[in-house]
Symmetry: none
Subunit: 194 residues, 4 copies
DNA sequence: GATGAATGAGCGTTCATTCAT
DNA sequence: CATGAATGAACGCTCATTCAT
């Protein structure tokens, strides 16, 4: 039980931080407020995270580790390119809609100086979370199924709309349903396919 | 002359704020630093703008007012839907690439709590800067040229990729040229057209 | 008058810092307390001093600049070695006794990591405030009036007792008067002379 | 065995505290760090010492209790005053040089608000560790061998230089050897003798 | 009107001390 | 008895805002 409690505390902090950062952004989520929402002393956070930056970075990694399995569930590299793209796109969009806090946090993260650094890592091939997408695109180009764009632009054509649509849904500007989700991802496909 | 000077100061402040916010984000741009860069006393800013939030909001409106004429230059409501879309999309993308500070500021703005508020105004029909796009999309749907999506999703399918591509270009992850710009916008069109 | 006020503020801060550090040591003198004692806002200190370390360093330099003229008043390089030593020693001791806050601050300073650094500068010949003493000692050795010790030891034999005596006086363990001051310095002389 | 262990823990704490305070000063030696270096839980320290101040005070007393026997080894009240002074002075100086951590701790201690309190106890006759010195000085004065100074000043003339010289040696500004040690103490004698 | 010195609430972080296990 | 996770007051410092000049 003591181990369980310990985990509880850390998870409470993570949860509180995610919520507050998602709601108010990095600068609207002071450590004291995170502590309060987590029902924890201000100093306690520092037992688990060296400082605020580290807390945020770990939050991000937590999130990635949580997202990928969900998105890749049922994914098979053997299916046709289009079907795989639709799978990934709809899974991502569904995840965002079902986990709006996660989505908002990711948005905040990618807009921080810290996010830019991470993005650079990705572009240099360091991160491998996106490998599924990369492989999919590279294969699609090789087979002349996809337009011959730089990978970065294919990413933008695919994820740009999904992020925008997810944000609008979360802010209440559209109400997505399963049909709209699929149609939207299919529209993305139309954008990148030859 | 005093009126002219006053305008000069106001514009210096706006310019300085835009630069600093674009470069370092909202929280890396203290009022004192803005004042210094604008060659103005710290208190002077408050003669022109009630507080920092108001300054930022006006900055945003300035920017919109500056962008639309540029984007709409040469735009004709008489041309075919596709051609009009390509005109608007490429003009927007070109504007972002040629005015990276403006783009960075807009990104920062849209990610602030303030940005969400503004977006809500738009959806309620308060803002009319996007009317050209709205008309284009509504007409396209009516003529069965575009997919029958909620307007909001058409917006996302169009601007989501453009913003993402512009960011990648500005961060140096792709180098866009005129051809890639057109191709990218054409890909967006493929996404929204029937 | 505005210039005078400005100086007043800075001097209030310096005075308050000196008092509090002398009374309670560096760590017993938080910036907030210094500000309060100086009748100044907490942030005001940072208009005049970049941070606490700089404040302390400037305090020290202020003090040196204030002390040397007082100690050297009436000092003449032409007088006999002994007389010059007595002059310097008694002047120093008198200064300490008449300015107990200055003395206590210097003690705190020399015991800080910062003080050690400064001491190292001195030993390497960077600081020239002590040149009078150095010259006196070097000349005394050359003329075979003083014992042939490393300079550093001559310093210790001279200032060690003076500092200790001054501390005891300030703490109330002895009550020095003019006669005792002179006798004490003469005893120091007996220690270093051949 | 339990009693032995308990003693072990206490001594480990004392040793760790001495090291860290000597190395980094009082404020560079947090309780948690002391506990870690002592291989002891943070809370354990509080079983042996009521709080940090008490720990430090006991550390000081430990040190005195450890020093006096060493310094008094071979000391005989029957020998001539001068010889006894030289014995005590050189023994003290040697002790400082051979136990730099002890010396540094003592310096830190004497400069804390706590140190002053202790000193006051001494002057009121509470402490009796210095009795040897007191007796030596009183006897020397009575026999007209020493200058007729208040005891406190004789102390200062004797220990002031020794402490200063020890500090310089430990900081590397001089390198003392047996000869210099003796000469230095003899110089102190010259200072206090008639 | 313009200034910039002054303010103080609020930030991220540390650390002496406590107490449930 | 020993532990070390938890605490929260206190620290040094920043910066949006005010106001006397």
């Amino acid at each position: 039980m003591s181990k369980h409690d310990k985990h509880d505390k850390r998870e409470e902090i993570v949860r509180a931080a995610l919520e507050l950062i998602a709601e108010h952004g990095f600068h609207g989520a002071p450590m004291a407020m995170i502590a309060e929402r987590a029902n924890v002393g201000a100093g306690t956070i520092y037992r688990y995270f060296e400082n605020k930056d580290v807390l945020i970075a770990e939050l991000y990694q937590n999130l990635e580790a949580k997202m990928y399995p969900v998105i890749l569930e049922g994914y098979s590299a053997d299916k046709p390119t289009r079907e795989r793209f639709i799978h990934l796109g709809t899974a991502l969009l569904r995840y965002f809609i079902e986990n709006p806090l996660d989505f908002r946090f990711l948005e905040q993260f990618h807009n921080s100086p810290f996010g830019a650094e991470h993005r650079r890592d990705k572009i240099l091939g360091v991160k491998d979370g996106c490998d599924v997408f990369r492989e999919l695109f590279e294969e699609g180009i090789a087979r002349q199924i996809l337009k011959e764009f730089p990978l970065s632009i294919l990413f933008s054509l695919s994820f740009g709309p999904l992020a925008a649509v997810a944000r609008d849904h979360i802010l209440g500007f559209v109400v997505l349903n399963e049909v709209l989700i699929v149609w939207t991802v299919e529209a993305c496909w139309d954008g990148i396919k030859r």
